[in-house]
Symmetry: C2
Amino acid sequence: MEQKTENQKSDQDKEFVRAITPKAVDYSQWYIDVILKTKMMDYAPIKGFMAIRLEGYAIWEKIQELMDRRFKETGHQNAYFPLLIPQELLQKEAEHVEGFAPEVAWVTKGGDEILNEPLAIRPTSEAIICDFYSRWIQSWRDLPLLINQWCNVLRWEKATRPFLRTSEFLWQEGHTCHRTEEEAEEETLKMLEVYRECLETEMAIPAVVGRKSQREKFAGALRTYTVEALMSDGRALQAGTSHNLGQHFAKGFNITYLDQDDQLKYVWQTSWGVSTRLVGALIMVHGDDRGLVLPPRIATIQTVIVPILTKKDRERVLESVRDLADQLKDKLRVKLDDREEYSPGWKYNEWEMRGVPVRIEVGPRDIDKGHVVVVRRDNGEKTFMSRDDLFEELPRLLVQIQDDMLQRALELREANTRSGSDYEEFKRIMTEERGFFLASWCGEDACEEKVKDDTKATIRCIPFDKELEDETCMVCGKKATEVVYYARAY
Amino acid sequence: MEQKTENQKSDQDKEFVRAITPKAVDYSQWYIDVILKTKMMDYAPIKGFMAIRLEGYAIWEKIQELMDRRFKETGHQNAYFPLLIPQELLQKEAEHVEGFAPEVAWVTKGGDEILNEPLAIRPTSEAIICDFYSRWIQSWRDLPLLINQWCNVLRWEKATRPFLRTSEFLWQEGHTCHRTEEEAEEETLKMLEVYRECLETEMAIPAVVGRKSQREKFAGALRTYTVEALMSDGRALQAGTSHNLGQHFAKGFNITYLDQDDQLKYVWQTSWGVSTRLVGALIMVHGDDRGLVLPPRIATIQTVIVPILTKKDRERVLESVRDLADQLKDKLRVKLDDREEYSPGWKYNEWEMRGVPVRIEVGPRDIDKGHVVVVRRDNGEKTFMSRDDLFEELPRLLVQIQDDMLQRALELREANTRSGSDYEEFKRIMTEERGFFLASWCGEDACEEKVKDDTKATIRCIPFDKELEDETCMVCGKKATEVVYYARAY
């Protein structure tokens, strides 16, 4: 029996020996290795679908909690709208249906009954929500209407990648109505800032914000704003979008209100969303060749305690780490890993792979010396910490790690943000080095398309705070109107 | 302008004059009036679907929070599985597909592509989850596997009623795997008890627990256990179920593990769920002719403060209630209703209808006397409370209200629980008075069906703790094997 357990142990160790593909060798494979090995997801029997496993879902739950708190602080409340949308409603806003129709999954049969009209599974909920809003909103007193929904949506995607682009994903979609254009614009930008700040503060992901080009905007929106983050391979990821819908949907769905001046007016609307792709962003911004690296504020386990058990000292080490876990649990999210069927080395590997920010090792000699070994996941730094200082020092260390992670991500982004006006140089960079590239643009679709054809890069956004340095468009040489961030994106 | 606002005010007041249909006049209409007038839901453009509006969703969020905490305390973690299930998987467990096939909605088209195999929208997730589990579980080390999912499900229902039975609903479904039959049975009963206790403690809903008859059990389960609550019209509501799935799915989906004795064995499984129908239960157990009555532990607003503003004292009253709200907000969930476009009377009506447990009224004279008026929603009791005592007394009052509400619900259930062996008397009671009826049963489907045909009542459950008093079946007079609760149910 003893023999058998030993054999099994070495079997388990092999799992770690078969290492994660290094980023430098194959970044896509590294990403897949990390999410499969950490059991964040698994492929579904239907192409393009996935299950989000415990490790991945715990991160999503944390993101939900942190975002939802901010939505409520800014006056929003949650509701739930139907999954299925009658075809007729989807068609009420022309641009919207054109944009989404190719991605819609259709229900044509319910029970034994063939449906008269096919029903769309929501790719996004503007159409169904606007139908309700047209009845719910009557008077200026009903405004602003500030509603958010957490749900699943379906977009029949051809090329998928776990978390980043899947046919089904989880997200939140805020849908608000306002009396004036200014108020709607203010809301759109407010929620964009909520996203930017939450990504930066909680996920240690610095994001570039700005407006989308007409070509990249949401189907049916007046203007789309975006939060764009740079992944560690130099590709950009659209991490969240906030749309000023203008009165496009209000007119399509006849959402009007009686104003104080007794006039019937169309409302002004916004919608905004972030999705489970943020889990992918977190992995790709911070992860390394050993696996996940979680920012302390997102990590469900912030510190793991691994006892080093010897036959002789087993009891007293166990007692000591149990005390320690108990004392720490009000200060931070701590886990004691006292499983006896795994070796300490195996556990170190596992918790490193799973990205737990801090590991504490405690052996008999550490107890005698009144200290513990503290290992940072983000930079591998190993220090001794006096057990008496731990309660003060450990929370401080977590803050430090969070700051350092943001700082590193910022530095990475800055090192990978270039600018210029030489189109040949731009093409070389987009192909060889990637990253963000700031350049002047004439505002024409043709140039945007040419860049995409030549380099696969797209305009990620038109930043708010950049002055036009170059008077001419990098691509065509005509008069420039905007500065834009180009990048190849996920 | 002033004139207009006044006119609008009286328009709004009319909304309350057109009262909710009294329960005694038409219970079904009362229920619909309450949920529509409190804006808990609205009907969707597709028959059988609904939107859950802010008021209804806030209750569901609270139920989620309270249940989820208990799931985690009992060692479960959340995950997310695909919405769509290939037809082939749904067919792997024979009883399961037979039970659910008539209710399944089918996706047959994705984007422009006609699918080769239709995909079911999950009516419940056993089939898709078991497919994953068959790959995730290899060794005894992987057990127990304790996973829960919060999601939407779809069942194509013919007769629907908001919250109680809708084609789409929100729920949680726990899906666990175990090494032994005993362990699975223990889990099944543990989660049943979590449901019972949560309903009782948090929602002030006393529930009867027991086993379902074979006829009423979940399609594919070995045994189904249930939590049954009595609504205020004497009809029962299945509030939650917990299934011991035995090895039915394990065999259908080949979910095996290598045990410590080196034998490959099938796992033992459970599943358990509660849904948004709990929101309906809450309304029908506690609601009255004035609207909702929310137990303090579920209410998002536990106390509302309504200032009585006069031209002369406006400022000092506002200042006083703002102070009060500020001081109370760490003790309980308080809201200050300082809207100026509504009269105090209008607000009293609104907050009563919305079921807020306690209302505090503050006028200039109350300030002078150093007290406030406190009105309980559950029994209408109005008392003066010294402002100094409020911080101690108010939390105590909320506890008292919660207890009283449970007590009244218990009394209602007891007054409506009868027993006997006279089938004619039983038929009269099920038709005229309803409620629970305890009787002996032979265990035969035929008698169960006869009862249903004669009275529309069904066996709600076979309770754990009732001794057989009568030796013969109430229906057929043959030897009885069980005592059962009959009731007409939603």
